[in-house]
């Protein structure tokens, strides 16, 4: 990749003179003869030879908070170049959760779907079937009410509700505060039912072992390509409400094709929590996964 701009032109061999092409350099507004991935602030002492006030966008290696001063461009202004994820704080809290869970041999699922895809009914049936087989714990997130927690209690697993109060997603800190209570000693499987939403939960790592998406057959086969940020991150997708398929124009082959477009090696499970169809395969999958 071009170190100046991150573009791929010369990598593909389309323009071998790319890096020294005057047009290219003018396009990017400056011409550095060195790479900007050194560790810390020092003056380069060279003349950038360009107007002040342009964007400095250099291609840096990925990594946590590597900062470097890239030279004074005017007596009053300077640029700090760095590479730090905006959600670095959430990421750090998520890593702490992941470590906490791993130390206790607990595997965690971050369960994500649109509202009404059947997360809670699937969990009700899952807890009933795993009772006595796998020690489960549940954290459930909703904007308001503890309705879901009440539905899930009394099925052999501790259930904790997070009311996000208008926030559209769970964050790692909220889960971390609850972990010690929510996943007692002996827990093997923690399922975190996220707020019903296909966009925002995809951005916030909770420290889960794996994200699982639910997609109900009433939603349309193109959901995976409409919401690729989420479906790209989910190694397992559960197609729900398959008992309704006879009443719909659902095309499973098309759905599978769309899923593979954004996640080629996705594992697909088809269930109806209402009729029980496909539930054994889902339960077997979970048992094997935590074994």
């Amino acid at each position: 990749m071009c170190r100046e701009c991150g573009c791929l032109t010369h990598v593909q061999g389309l323009d071998p003179d790319h890096a020294t092409n005057p047009d290219h350099l003018r396009d990017h507004g400056h011409s550095h003869g060195h790479e900007h991935d050194h560790e810390h602030g020092h003056d380069h002492g060279h003349d950038h030879g360009h107007d002040h006030g342009h964007d400095h966008v250099h291609s840096h290696d990925r990594g946590p908070l590597r900062t470097s001063s890239i030279g004074a461009v005017s007596p009053a202004h300077r640029h700090l170049s760095l590479e730090s994820r905006v959600l670095a704080k959430n990421d750090a809290l998520a890593e702490a959760n992941r470590r906490w869970l791993a130390e206790r041999q607990i595997r965690a699922i971050n369960l994500i779907s649109s509202p009404g895809a059947g997360k809670t009914l699937l969990l009700e049936q899952t807890l009933e079937r795993l009772q006595g087989r796998v020690n489960c714990a549940i954290i459930v997130g909703d904007v308001a009410t503890d309705n879901d927690a009440r539905r899930l209690r009394g099925k052999g697993a501790p259930v904790h509700q997070i009311e996000t109060r208008n926030s559209c997603h769970l964050a790692a800190g909220q889960v971390g505060e609850l972990l010690a209570h929510a996943a007692p000693v002996g827990t093997r499987l923690l399922i975190i039912e996220n707020v019903g939403n296909l966009v925002c939960p995809a951005a916030f790592d909770l420290g889960e072992t794996m994200k699982v998406a639910l997609l109900s057959v009433t939603e349309g086969e193109d959901k995976p390509v409409k919401y690729p940020t989420l479906f790209h991150q989910t190694p397992v997708v559960v197609i729900t409400k398959i008992d309704l398929v006879p009443h719909l124009d659902w095309d499973m082959a098309l759905c599978r094709q769309n899923l593979r477009q954004v996640r080629p090696n996705v594992t697909l499970l088809e269930v109806s929590a209402r009729s029980g169809l496909g539930m054994e395969a889902w339960i077997d999958f979970l048992e094997n996964w935590v074994a």
């Binding site: 990598v11 966008v57 300077r78 700090l80 477009q261």
Partner: protein
């Protein structure tokens, strides 16, 4: 609509960086937004001034550069860009590609005084 959370996280982190680097005033911040970051540009641009309003960063400008989705073939090392997520096999050798860039929302640089 998690862009308010993102703007808040961004401003918190900027304040930490500024304290660490001894920066007096932030003129602008440049953020790289991946095609697959799940961020709505307009919403983030709307939220940022609201969040900085009550902070010493008031008046700072948010600049967003969009990072294209970059794929790489792990077998023949060919790299290419795409407008949307499509794991079509590598045109060179037919292997399954991997994404190497375009997923994150990243602070790239600060213009400071």
């Amino acid at each position: 609509m998690h862009e308010l959370s993102l703007a808040t996280a961004l401003v918190e982190q900027l304040q930490e960086i500024m304290a660490r680097e001894g920066v007096q005033e932030l003129v602008s911040v440049t953020v790289a937004m991946g095609v697959l970051s799940g961020v709505e540009r307009e919403a983030l641009e709307f939220c940022f001034p609201l969040v900085v309003e009550a902070t010493p960063l008031k008046g700072a400008i948010l600049k967003i550069v969009e990072t294209p989705l970059c794929f790489r073939c792990p077998r023949c090392q060919r790299e290419w860009q795409a407008e949307k997520v499509d794991f079509a096999p590598c045109g060179g050798c037919g292997s399954a590609p991997e994404i190497i860039d375009g997923r994150d929302l990243v602070i790239r640089s600060l213009e400071v005084t």
